[in-house]
């Protein structure tokens, strides 16, 4: 059973309510419908209800699969506003929230914050920036985290790592040039993400061109400082470095290069890149030379699950990301 098959099986056992604020989009509605029809999620379409019903009918979908929330209907909107503003960590007051909720993206996230759905899934009409900023305003960040970031899950044929062919890597999509503080946040969030999604005990390596001082310079200093900060913030997690990539994932290389005790070196299941240049190139190398499937990016750092899919994504990829998001939400104890 592949990793994605396992995740699909998990989703089916506990289907989550997933809000789709871009449901009028043909690909998004198809993905919402198919994942709902197949029993992985309960799709909640958020928008102009009349338009959505007409589109669903035209596209030949069984409307009983969908729950449709009309953003123009006042009674339900007011109940969401009431729940939202009663929460201790929300930023907007009633009137400002009501204005924001004219936009389905903000409406969906208000529902999520109010506990009406477990996930907001967007990104096909809205830009990544729109989704990230809306998420920060409506959902907020986890305590102690000040950076939204992402990880991807790579399934690499022939790789014999500590989790078989799987390796989680981050951040390859969001933070361009993270500071040491931000890098620490990325590592902490990545550990929580793999714990929730895959039930792994995370072993997180922060990678560099240096292994424990074999190289010097400000690029290395940033990574060593990030390791220090991460360990100070979350001593319960196994986060170590700085390691070169091979020392992080290969027991043989780690035995040669890492001359101290480490619960991570040689057996990392999560690697954190020092910046987006490395992250983007790294993932492309894994895909091109390692013929890997890369799932994600999975956004992390939010109080609950927000998903931004690629605007060019095919329906099959959107479905995979919906199901992954739902499983993460279930593990975080959402609706």
């Amino acid at each position: 059973m592949s990793v994605l098959d396992n995740i699909y099986a998990k989703a089916k056992k506990n289907p989550q309510r997933v809000a789709f604020p871009e449901a009028a989009n043909e690909k998004m509605m198809q993905a919402a419908y198919e994942t709902g029809k197949e029993g992985y999620i309960i799709p909640v379409l958020v928008g102009n209800a009349e338009e959505l019903r007409i589109l669903a009918k035209e596209r030949g979908y069984d409307s009983s699969v969908f729950t449709i929330v009309d953003i123009n209907e006042e009674e339900y909107k007011n109940s969401v506003i009431e729940k939202f503003v009663a929460l201790p960590d929300t930023k907007l007051k009633e009137k400002a929230l009501g204005r924001r909720m004219q936009d389905p993206l903000y409406y969906a996230m208000a529902m999520q914050k109010a506990g009406e759905v477990g996930v907001t899934f967007a990104g096909i009409d809205n830009t990544t920036g729109d989704v990230l900023l809306a998420g920060q305003m409506m959902i907020g960040l986890q305590p102690g985290i000040s950076t939204v970031s992402s990880i991807g899950l790579c399934d690499i044929p022939g790789f014999e790592g500590s989790e078989g062919t799987l390796l989680a890597v981050g951040d390859s999509a969001v933070c361009t040039n993270p500071s040491a503080d931000q890098l620490a946040d990325i590592a902490i969030s990545a550990c929580d993400t793999v714990k929730n999604l895959l039930a792994w005990e995370p072993r997180c390596a922060m990678v560099s061109y240096s292994t424990l001082g074999s190289g010097q310079g400000e690029l290395v200093d940033k990574v060593t400082e990030a390791v220090r900060i991460a360990n100070e913030k979350r001593p319960d997690l196994n986060i170590d470095g700085e390691f070169q990539f091979d020392a992080a994932i290969s027991p043989a290389v780690a035995a040669k290069k890492v001359k101290r005790e480490s619960s991570v070196a040689g057996k990392a299941n999560v690697t954190i890149w020092p910046d987006l240049n490395v992250g983007n190139v790294g993932v492309k190398l894994i895909q091109q030379f390692g013929h890997a499937d890369a799932y994600g990016p999975m956004l992390q750092g939010f109080n609950s699950i927000v998903c931004d899919c690629s605007r060019g994504a095919p329906v099959s990829e959107i479905k995979g990301n919906i199901v992954i998001s739902a499983v993460r939400a279930a593990a975080m104890g959402q609706v």
Binding site: K91, K93, K95, R100, L141, S146
Partner: protein, 79 residues
């Protein structure tokens, strides 16, 4: 609210969101160079502005502001 009152109000809200003393801020204060904060602080600031001034400004527009004066201009355009 005239321009001067708006400037004073925005300076006050920036001070709250970025945990700075209002006396240390001016219209020329640059968000990226002079203030320690990430997008999360800017988002909190926009929420405060929307709550206090009864307007809505696009988060992307606010995030594109370099200085406090740029933000005052963006807010004024929505009032």
């Amino acid at each position: 609210m005239d321009r001067k009152e708006l400037e004073t109000k925005i300076l006050e809200l920036v001070a709250i969101s970025y945990n700075e003393k209002a006396s240390g801020l001016s219209l020329a204060t640059n968000f990226k160079n002079d203030l320690v904060g990430a997008s999360v602080q800017m988002v909190a600031l926009v929420a405060e502005i929307e709550n206090e001034l009864d307007i809505m400004i696009a988060l992307q527009d606010a995030a594109a502001c370099n200085t406090i004066e740029d933000l005052v201009n963006a807010v004024e355009a929505e009032m």
